[in-house]
């Protein structure tokens, strides 16, 4: 397969600004999917609301473009209803970490076999430039007029704390590395969180492409992602942010396994008349 197998027939009226990191993430995702040989018909991308959440609109795939913050419950249920599908939840930092923060915590605990891709540009772009949960302290916006006085939300530290099954961070500017990380995340069994740094060319003049370049580094081959203590020390660093697969959890059962699900999708579920009759019969006693 080739990344172009996920192209939609054009021309597309794309809502992203020229130079937006979203283009790189979309390209990296197509590349990862092609390398894994996943057919568009067997893929479901669930997204929330925001510019990042528009990604599936520009991808040849089944998609469920739902509500702001709610992609993870939908994606978890899609996978449970049909375990044969590859399911990705994709949205921005505001959607996944702000509006949908509670769902993230519980999706990590529930451990559905899905991949959450979070476009993290540290700003609300579609609503025109307010602080996001990941904005750095002091970030000035039309709402946070004196600069946000809260510390940023650290999604990776939360994920490691909850023993998430796969935790990674990428930088949209490095398309090839991002594709590699996404490929590992999608093929991982269990919940995979991939936080992807990206620049916003219109509403974030602080965390620019260059800023991300100079504030990130890739973990090297000696890094052991199964070492939870080391992972935690790594993800709480804020002088320079680590990129790569940063934590692999202890292999807890997936949501479907906990539900005792067979591989039979729910659309093959049939009403069991004999069991209903038996249930009613028991009510005569």
């Amino acid at each position: 397969m080739d990344a172009s197998d996920f192209d939609l027939p054009g021309p597309l009226d794309i809502a992203w600004c020229p130079g937006c990191g979203n283009y790189h993430i979309l390209a990296a995702l197509k590349s990862a999917l092609a390398r894994l040989g996943i057919q568009p018909g067997a893929l479901v991308v669930v997204s929330g609301i925001g510019q990042a959440a528009k990604a599936p609109q520009y991808l040849k795939t089944n998609f469920f473009n739902g509500l702001h913050g709610r992609s993870l419950p939908v994606a978890s249920a899609v996978k449970a209803a049909n375990p044969g599908l590859t399911v990705i939840a994709e949205s921005g930092d505001g959607c996944m970490y702000g509006e949908g923060g509670n769902h993230l915590l519980h999706a990590i605990r529930r451990n559905p076999d899905i991949t959450a891709i979070v476009h993290n540009n540290m700003v609300y772009a579609l609503t025109k430039g307010q602080a996001s949960p990941t904005s750095l302290r002091g970030f000035v916006t039309p709402v946070q007029v004196s600069g946000t006085c809260q510390d940023p939300f650290n999604p990776l530290a939360i994920a490691v704390a909850l023993d998430a099954s796969f935790v990674a961070r990428a930088f949209a500017g490095d398309e090839e590395e991002t594709a590699g990380i996404l490929k590992r995340a999608i093929s991982h069994k269990g919940f995979a969180l991939v936080d992807i740094f990206q620049n916003c060319v219109t509403f974030n003049r602080v965390n620019t492409f260059q800023w991300f370049k100079s504030h990130t580094y890739y973990v090297d081959g000696s890094y052991d992602p199964s070492d939870r203590d080391a992972a935690f020390s790594t993800v709480v660093r804020t002088d320079r942010f680590a990129l790569g697969v940063l934590y692999l959890g202890s292999g807890k059962p997936t949501f479907s396994e906990c539900q005792g699900m067979r591989d039979t999708p729910l659309h093959r579920h049939r009403v069991n008349r004999e069991k209903i009759a038996a249930l009613l019969e028991a009510k005569r006693a």
């Binding site: 998609f63 739902g66 249920a77 449970a80 209803a81 729910l266 009403v271 069991k275 009510k283």
Partner: protein, 573 residues
């Protein structure tokens, strides 16, 4: 109402105890015992929102015919703690037999004029092994009192406690036998009421709660996925499906909140499941954005909304019918919906099944609107129809050119699911074109609104008509919905008027087209609802222009009692 006219064949038995005393076990034991013995039973427990203490009351009717509502009148009262009688005075008549520990019987009733049977229940329980045997002892006592076959009691105790081991069964049997012996002795004193007749018919009935009825109906409708967050009184249905998940191959998940619950349900439908959420007022408030999403993506979804009194936390364990407007007007934007409100347990079963059919057929949210009283009442029911054939599937296999929102004459686009066929299934909460992709084209927008709203016409064609009972030549018409069916129906039997009828809606939205004609035939219309503002009355007026001359409303957290409906009707007629 004179008691003599009504007690024949119908005994009202009330237990009143504290939370934590095990009244629930007692209710389960006693209802099964009497049904097995050939009585129709109806039982309703009202409890306080606490785990220990307070006062909980179980009202049980033991009858020769099927009954399904509460009486004010108490024939036998068993107080189980000091102060138990305080809230029950209005039901105590000069003939009420008060049975139990002398310490729990108020002094006012012990002047010799009231039939009182002093039984040292606590002491007997202690002799049998401890306080925990009180329930079994009481079940035995009542069995003896009603001259039930002692073997029925012994079998039931064996079934109930069998899993706990032989020792537990033996101790419980001992307690039950002590109770039985004492109960038979009470009978000899000649202090009890005439017993209702027993029948083989009653023995063969089903004994169901509203939860059972809706739960089994959902299974018959093809339910395969349940995601919910616990909230009284809707939790029972979540428990029901959890209990049967493995046997029926269901996915049942306790979500982190109601927002997640309904979004999971929509994800499940999208991928081929048939999902239900169960919730109550405040929880449903959190689901409202998801409801609107169902409207936009044209997803089927079945929402069981078990009502309790609000606003906000209100009275968590009590009952009310005040969320009709909540169900009807919730959700931003304009989209079709269907609201069902079963009046009987048979309707609970039939309509739960119907809800899945209608949701799937028209790709709309369908509400099953119940309440605490309906869900937790326990009642004998005749047979229920098991589906004779496989429920029709409305899922289509997609082809390469598949468009999820293809414009059609009736507004219903064939619904594909991902991974089944060669097409792609794209759904969007943004306004979308036929392929499901985002659009701001004003013509497409208008076409999509029209398409969605066209479906309501088809839903109207499939309306469930309201039930008209009572006199055919009525001048006065009582109108109600949902759980008030049985109490009004029985009040009509008591009143025996030739000019009175009752119109009951088990589908409250959309209203059946024939309903207006029936209501116009009445000279006077009386709306009866378990709420403060007559929500159905307002809806009927808005939809048909028909108003109501009288109102019978109740909003103190309790269901209507039979005598209360009779008296309030007498005032108005």
């Amino acid at each position: 109402m004179s008691r003599a006219s009504h007690t024949a064949g119908d005994i009202s038995l009330v237990f009143s105890g504290e939370a934590g005393q095990g009244l629930q076990t007692l209710e389960q034991l006693v209802t099964r015992l009497f049904k097995r013995a050939g009585y129709h039973v109806f039982s309703y427990s009202e409890v306080m929102s606490r785990i220990r203490g307070g006062n909980n009351t179980t009202r049980l009717r033991i009858s020769s015919r099927r009954v399904a509502c509460c009486l004010r009148r108490i024939d036998i009262l068993v107080p189980l703690h000091a102060g138990a009688m305080a809230r029950l005075r209005e039901g105590i008549t000069p003939e009420t037999v008060i049975l139990g520990d002398p310490a729990f019987i108020d002094a006012a009733y012990r002047d010799g004029s009231q039939p009182v049977v002093e039984v040292p229940l606590a002491e007997m329980a202690r002799e049998a092994g401890g306080d925990i045997y009180l329930n079994v002892l009481l079940a035995g006592l009542l069995s003896g009192l009603f001259c039930l076959d002692e073997a029925l009691l012994e079998d039931l105790i064996g079934e109930f406690f069998g899993k706990a081991g032989e020792d537990r069964v033996g101790r419980n049997l001992e307690a039950a036998r002590r109770g039985y012996g004492r109960g038979s002795h009470v009978l000899k004193a000649g202090q009890v009421l005439p017993f209702p007749e027993r029948s083989e018919e009653a023995r063969r009935e089903l004994l169901l709660t509203g939860v059972d009825a809706v739960g089994i109906g959902g299974l018959a409708g093809g339910c395969s996925f349940v995601s919910s967050y616990p909230m009284s009184p809707s939790t029972g249905l979540l428990l029901f499906y959890a209990r049967h998940a493995q046997e029926f191959g269901l996915v049942v998940e306790q979500a982190e909140d109601e927002i997640s619950a309904i979004n999971m349900a929509l994800g499940a439908w999208y991928a081929g499941g048939k999902a239900l959420v169960t919730t109550s007022g405040g929880g449903f408030s959190l689901m409202v954005e998801g409801l609107s999403l169902a409207g936009s993506i044209e997803s089927p979804v079945v929402i069981h909304l078990g009502q309790r009194p609000g606003p906000a936390t209100g009275l968590p364990t009590r009952t009310e019918q005040a969320d009709l407007e909540h169900a009807l007007y919730s959700g931003h934007g304009e989209f079709p919906r269907l609201i069902l409100a079963p009046g009987t347990l048979k309707e609970g079963y039939d309509l739960a099944r119907h809800a899945f059919f209608m949701a799937d057929r028209f790709q709309i949210p369908v509400f099953i609107l119940t309440d605490q009283y309906f869900l937790e009442g326990l009642c004998t029911v005749g047979s229920l129809d098991i589906p004779s054939r496989e429920q029709e599937s409305f899922i289509v296999e997609t082809d390469a050119g598949y468009r999820r929102y293809r414009l059609t004459e009736d507004g219903v686009s064939p619904r594909g699911i991902p991974g089944f066929g060669s097409g792609l299934v794209c759904v969007d909460s943004d306004e979308h074109d036929e392929t499901g992709h985002i659009t701001e084209d004003s013509r497409v927008r208008a076409d999509m609104v029209d398409k969605r709203l066209r479906k309501i016409e088809s839903v109207k064609q499939a309306c469930i008509p309201p039930t008209l009972t009572g006199s055919e030549d009525f001048r006065h018409l009582v109108v109600g919905w949902g759980s008030t069916f049985a109490v009004v129906r029985e009040a009509l039997d008591v009143l025996k008027r030739t000019d009175l009828a009752f119109l009951h809606f088990s589908q409250v939205y959309p209203l059946h087209p024939a309903a207006a004609g029936i209501m116009k035939r009445a000279e006077r219309r009386i709306i009866l609802e378990n709420n403060a503002t007559a929500q159905l009355g307002k809806l009927i007026r808005q939809q048909t222009g028909i108003g109501f001359e009288g109102r019978i409303l109740k909003y103190d957290g309790f269901p209507f009692l039979l005598e209360e409906v009779v008296e309030r009707l007498e005032v108005l007629l």
